[in-house]
Subunit: 256 residues, 2 copies
C-alpha cells in the first residue's frame, strides 16, 4: 500500500441526512485506499437531553461521566457508526466499523485530573497500524468512531479530530497519507461570515498570527493544532474543507 | 483453520455484570479459534422505557419500528458490543465487534408482512464466511451483535440465536464447528424448576415429543429449532448450557 486518504467527517455533516448522503457519495467515489473517521454531533446531546442527563462542557469539551460514556458509546459506536457502515455497503464500499477497542487499534488513558475532571475522556497513547494496513490492503474500509479504550476494559470518549490526526501520523510511517478534515465550512475562513474567504494555503506562522488576532478561533484551533501536528509527523497533506471540497480538491491546505 | 467454537451468549447472561464477567473469563480461557455472538437482553427495553417508546412484542418477538431499530442498534451494536470487546481486550483476546453490515458478513431482508408486521426485523439471506475465516486465522475473535443489514442501507434487528446458527452452518462448510448456546440454565431441563434435571443428550424426536407434552416450551423451542437446523447442516456439535457448562463441558448435546 503506497497511499491512503483519511477523511474525518464532523458532527454537523453527520447529523444532517442530506449532507451525510452527499459526503458518503463522494467518499464512495474516491479512488484508492481510504479510511473514514466520524464525530457524533448533536445526536449524543439529543439523547442525553431525552434521558434527562445533564450535559456538561468546559470550553466546548464534554465532561464524560459514567452515564455519558454509555450514551456516547451507544450513539457514536452504535447508531452513527453502523448507519454509516450500512450506507457505505449500499454504495459498494466494504466498510468495517471500529472503535479503538476493536482489534486494540487505539489505546488511550483516562485524562488525568488537573483543574478539570473530564471524566471518561481518553488521550491517545498508541495506534496499532499493522492490522489496519492489512485490512485496508485486503479491500476493507475502516470507519472509526471516536471511542477508544484503556486496555483495562474501560471505554473512553476521544476527540474525533485527534483520532484522525493520530491515525494519520501513525500510518504515515508506512505510506503516503492525505488527511482531509471535512466539516460544514469550505475551509479556514478569513471572515467567518463569508464562505468565499477561504485561505488556500495556511502556514503555521500565519495560523498563530490569525489566532492572536482572533481571525481563527474556537473549534478551529484544536483542529488546526491536530493538523499541524500531523504535518510535522510526516503526513503528506492536510486539507480542511467541506463535502464540495472533498470532491473538487478545494479547501485550506496546511504547510509548515 | 480446522476447528472453530461459536459461543452464543444470551441477554440474561450479558445484562448481569457478574455472569458476564464469568462468561468472558471462561470464553477468554477457551483454547483454539472462537467467535462470540451476543444478545442484548433487557438493556434495550430499559432504554426504550426511559425514552417513553412503547415496547411491542408478539409471542416474545419484538416489533421493531423506526425508533426501536435505532435503540437496539445503539444498545446491541454500541453499548453491549463495545463493552464486551473492551472487556475481552483486557483479557488479552483480540476481539473485533461486528454487525452483519460490517464487511457485509450477514445480509438479510426485512421480514415480509403476513399477519404481523414485525417492522425492521431481518431474516438472514447469506453469510460471507471468507472474510471471517481470514480474520480468525489472523488471530481476531469476532464479537457479533444481533443487527444485520439489507444491502440497501437499512439495518435490521435479527434474532441472536438465529445469527449464531446461521454463522455456524455457513462456517461448517469449511471447518469443524462447535456451537454452544450459553444461557442462564445448565441445559434443557426435564423440569423447569429443577436445575439438576438437565437432559444430557437430546434427539430431534425427543425434542418434538417434549414439545408436544409441554416439557419444552417458550423461548427454548426456537433455540432448539435453530440448533437442530445447525446439526442437520453439518455443524459438528451443538450444546445448550450455562457459563459453568461452558467451562466443564456439561449441558444438553443435540443429536439427530
Amino acid at each position: 500500500m503506497n497511499n491512503l486518504t483519511i477523511v474525518k467527517v464532523g458532527g454537523a455533516v453527520v447529523e444532517d441526512p442530506t449532507t451525510l448522503n452527499t459526503l458518503l457519495d463522494d467518499f464512495a467515489a474516491m479512488q484508492g485506499n481510504k479510511l473514514l473517521v466520524h464525530g457524533g454531533g448533536r445526536a449524543a446531546d439529543k439523547l442525553l437531553n431525552r434521558l434527562g442527563v445533564e450535559i456538561k462542557k468546559v470550553d466546548g469539551r464534554r465532561i464524560t461521566d459514567k452515564e455519558t460514556i454509555d450514551v456516547v458509546t451507544m450513539v457514536y459506536a452504535g447508531l452513527v457508526n453502523k448507519n454509516i457502515v450500512a450506507q457505505l455497503q449500499r454504495r459498494g464500499v466494504n466498510a468495517l466499523g471500529f472503535t479503538g477497542a476493536d482489534l486494540n487499534i487505539i489505546l488511550s488513558h483516562k485524562r488525568p485530573v488537573k483543574t478539570i475532571d473530564y471524566g471518561f475522556v481518553g488521550d491517545v497513547d498508541s495506534v496499532q497500524t499493522e492490522v489496519l494496513f492489512s485490512l485496508i490492503e485486503q479491500g476493507a474500509v475502516p470507519v472509526v468512531s471516536p471511542i477508544t479504550h484503556d486496555g483495562r476494559g474501560q471505554l473512553l470518549n476521544t476527540n474525533a479530530d485527534t483520532i484522525a490526526s493520530e491515525l494519520a501520523r501513525a500510518l504515515a510511517k508506512s505510506c503516503g497519507v492525505t488527511l482531509v478534515y471535512c466539516f460544514e465550512k469550505p475551509g479556514v475562513l478569513m471572515d467567518a461570515t463569508d464562505d468565499n474567504s477561504v485561505i488556500g494555503t495556511l502556514t503555521y506562522d500565519k495560523f498563530k498570527e490569525y489566532q492572536a488576532t482572533g481571525i481563527i478561533n474556537e473549534g478551529m484551533i484544536p483542529k488546526l493544532d491536530n493538523g499541524f501536528d500531523a504535518i510535522r509527523a510526516g503526513v503528506a497533506s492536510v486539507v480542511i474543507t467541506n463535502t464540495d471540497g472533498l470532491k473538487n480538491g478545494r479547501g485550506t491546505r496546511l504547510v509548515i
